[in-house]
Symmetry: C2
Subunit: 358 residues, 2 copies
Amino acid sequence: MHKQTIQTSTNKYDVIIGEGLLTNIAEYFPKRYTNILIITDSAVRSLYAETIQTGLKSHCDNIGIATVPAGEASKSIDYYYQLLTEAVDHHLDRKSLIIALGGGMIGDLAGFVAATYMRGIDFIQVPTTILAHDSSVGGKVAINHPKGKNLIGNFYPPVAVIYDVKTLTSLPAKEIRSGYAEIVKHGFISRKAFLDQIMKTNLRNTLDPYDLVDQLQKGIAVKARIVEQDEKENDIRKFLNFGHTLGHAIEAELGYGNITHGEAVAIGMLFAIRVSEQIFQVELPYDSLLQWLKENNYPLTISSLNIEHVIDRMKLDKKSENAIVQMVLLEKIGQPKIVNLEDQVLKKHLEIFIRELG
Amino acid sequence: MHKQTIQTSTNKYDVIIGEGLLTNIAEYFPKRYTNILIITDSAVRSLYAETIQTGLKSHCDNIGIATVPAGEASKSIDYYYQLLTEAVDHHLDRKSLIIALGGGMIGDLAGFVAATYMRGIDFIQVPTTILAHDSSVGGKVAINHPKGKNLIGNFYPPVAVIYDVKTLTSLPAKEIRSGYAEIVKHGFISRKAFLDQIMKTNLRNTLDPYDLVDQLQKGIAVKARIVEQDEKENDIRKFLNFGHTLGHAIEAELGYGNITHGEAVAIGMLFAIRVSEQIFQVELPYDSLLQWLKENNYPLTISSLNIEHVIDRMKLDKKSENAIVQMVLLEKIGQPKIVNLEDQVLKKHLEIFIRELG
């Protein structure tokens, strides 16, 4: 078991990572709660909700479970309101707890319910995907609006993150790839030794729990150090966007569901590395990343993309200002830098990149 | 013009009170904004929205107005979501401003929109009622749920409160009574000299702007000192509930719209004073408050109330714990104290009080 403390501007909380934490989850609670609502999705519920409920029985009398359908579509105003009503019906009061059991979607949705129910009650993140190592730290909670992802939300940190790697080793291959892309990102923007360690990991074999705990906690530490310095994303928090400017555009162009978030970010990182090499005249491990992605079956075929559409999407990115595309590039590993790119320059880089990737 | 600074746990902001501030409102902004959305209600819009919009033209190119129907029913999830959509359509970004122009309902609703749009953008309160002197300070924003008033919300302070008393002198008499009851409350829980000053004010005459600025700023100072010490209502913020335990119950029993919030609180204060006198064996100005309320046409007829129903309502109050009624009483003027009351004791006090009031 590994524990690290995240310090935010308003409070601090522990991220606990280990094997088999779910069976006795209350052990890791920061305090006692008499009334708990577990919010989860239809896919995760059958796997873990009852385990947690049973384990909590000695801690607490009143444990409810509220379920929404699996998938990003549940991050809507309607499900948000439905969950608030379930919180009322379950008699949650200001001293009660919400547990967000699931991936990033559940963390965002249940976190926003907790942030706004009676002006904010405690919530604990229990992530069940590798990708959620990223979203469960940093205090961002939100739902979607038809005109913008995560458009409605708060900065509202959990009181604890309890991360049981037992839930991760049986994930579908594409979910493992998706989550690992964010770990790779944390490697690139922090230090070479961590990146080298990840590049030795073979995602096609069953993941070793010891390695997984180690790499997750290192990834979380990278993110935590950044958000502790810049919680509200005025400055260096943008570094976490490495690979995401093109990544988000690919995700949207190919259609959510056709490529996972992390798989799209993986291609985005390749692109950011290529652009970095040319702009800063440095050598970066483009080839070794490409090889690792291929070995681990990341989808890399993007020749069907319409470059004009992709550039339009990149301009719409929330982090872009005044319709100029902003990318996170690398002067070297562990040294990210924000760079604005003119449309024509961007287009040329993209054309070469897509041709090269094939 | 009077200015006072409110310090919260996360930021600080100015409350500016004066005559004729609306015509050149941007003078009091803490910084420049390029995109502004004024949120107001159908009653206030025709009175002041265009004045503000015209005055802002030299400050800013892009000023929108979004309107909801007047009345508490607009503090709903549907209007909340509609306003978020209007914020998107008006292209508000993270650097934009929302102005909450109206009474407490608008402050709560527009404040919650600002608190959650893109995880929080700046908002400025422009109160147009006396009652809003109370709600515009303290950082509480919220909408209602059918099962509870203010059940969905945040703690999210404005970046400024700009209070133009010109909007107050022409209020309907019952709105003036409603607002003044909260000023009276601030007198009772702070100091005798302030209370004596209020008791000399005749609400049936046109209010003197100089006196009004003075009394509003004193009332705000009382509230500010309390919320600065206890923003999240763990402790002394409960003192602001003086008169509200019975007040809320009367408001709900008689039906919203039949008695204003402040009028109900006025009766609640009389009751709290009577109970205080008996429990602490002290003498308090029950008679002079009663006389002032009568002179100023406060409705005081509550003989139709069903005592059992009233007690049930008092138990449902958010501030009550474990179904024991909690009241704010006075050991003397300026010295409030939280007291738990058994049902039987409460019932006896209520019976005597209602009989005495007639």
